[in-house]
Subunit: 212 residues, 2 copies
């Protein structure tokens, strides 16, 4: 699909070609080491020191390149193109009643930017590795929707977070994996007003009475 | 699985261990032949006669065992435990404003009955075979939500059908594939009032203005 938008100079990131500088090599070594260590030891068992040791670099390089173990996790295993903490801050900026809209728009924009490749990789890893599922649970539920929930209503926050996850993962499945039309090619501006009220209701609205 | 049915003496089955009755053999032969023919020729290209020929049985056996090409499709490729036409009839029985509730309850009940195995098989086949995706599109969008749409509002029916599909597939992913709690173990009576309004709005409510 041709996209006629003009790229603003401020978003025009430089693309390096050819040989990577040494710093990028360190980053790649750390990502490879992280995948190995997380697979062997799980999230809790893995240490920044252990991953750096496996990569043969100083532990300070983890903080330099990834900021945190969690972010290294996100990039190595889930191949997320963003820092979860930064994303949460962005989403929490603005009125609570527009949370749903910001979430849907932000994720569609992030995922569209890779042609859905990141989302598809996520689903593949989730359907084949229990470890990836555990990490995704940690990141999406605790870090992302868990923190967003702090700003929302105080009623079954974990159920609400998983309801949000159900619509978000379904959105990605239809748009990038099974590619049902017209959803797969629809403008973000068509999808946001359709889907945002669902997220908003799951976060702050009526989801029915608690049952025992 | 043990089957407690009492065999009538007139059946006079041979006592070879593990042998299935002839009828079940025919059914299995047809399912195998259907998988082969649908993979080679696609849904439109496959004929009942061709599938029966491949199985080495009379074409009347397809109608006897499956009722229709579509239902054979559903059972052979998607391993759906229901007849799409029958499901549509069930869902369309009752008030239009409770369509969302009936859909969510019916699918959760059907999928829960197999421990989510059917849904997981569906996702596996969809992420690995383009053919399965095409068939799912045909069944869910045209036959199921397409027909349900005939009872709903006359505004972008295909977009509405895919919005429904996004919530339904996401519901299945969270409950059966990634198993996020408390969603994965929640009572159907907890999930239905939470999710049904989403389906209802996608079918008959406000999904935002059309954009060009």
């Amino acid at each position: 699909m041709h996209d006629g938008r003009v790229t603003s100079p401020s978003t025009d990131r430089p693309r390096r070609r050819g040989r990577r500088p040494a710093g990028e090599d360190t980053r790649t070594l750390l990502l490879d080491a992280a995948r190995a260590v997380f697979s062997e030891s799980g999230y809790d068992g893995a240490t920044v020191r252990g991953i750096a040791g496996r990569a043969g670099v100083d532990a300070a390089m983890v903080n330099h390149w990834f900021g945190s173990k969690e972010n290294l996790f996100a990039q190595a295993i889930l191949q997320l193109p963003f820092d979860p903490e930064e994303l949460v801050s962005t989403l929490l900026t603005g009125p609570a009643e527009q949370l749903g809209e910001r979430i849907v728009r932000k994720f569609l924009t992030l995922w569209d930017a890779t042609g859905g490749g990141v989302f598809t990789a996520l689903v593949r890893s989730v359907t084949s590795h229990e470890q990836a599922t555990q990490i995704m649970r940690e990141l999406f539920l605790k870090r992302l929707f868990g923190r967003i929930q702090e700003r929302a209503v105080d009623d079954r926050p974990q159920l609400r977070a998983t309801l949000c996850a159900s619509q978000m993962i379904g959105m990605g499945m239809i748009r990038y994996v099974v590619k049902f039309e017209p959803f797969a090619s629809a403008d973000i501006d068509t999808l946001v007003p359709a889907i945002a009220p669902t997220l908003q209701r799951y976060l702050t609205g009526d989801i029915g009475p608690p049952t025992e």
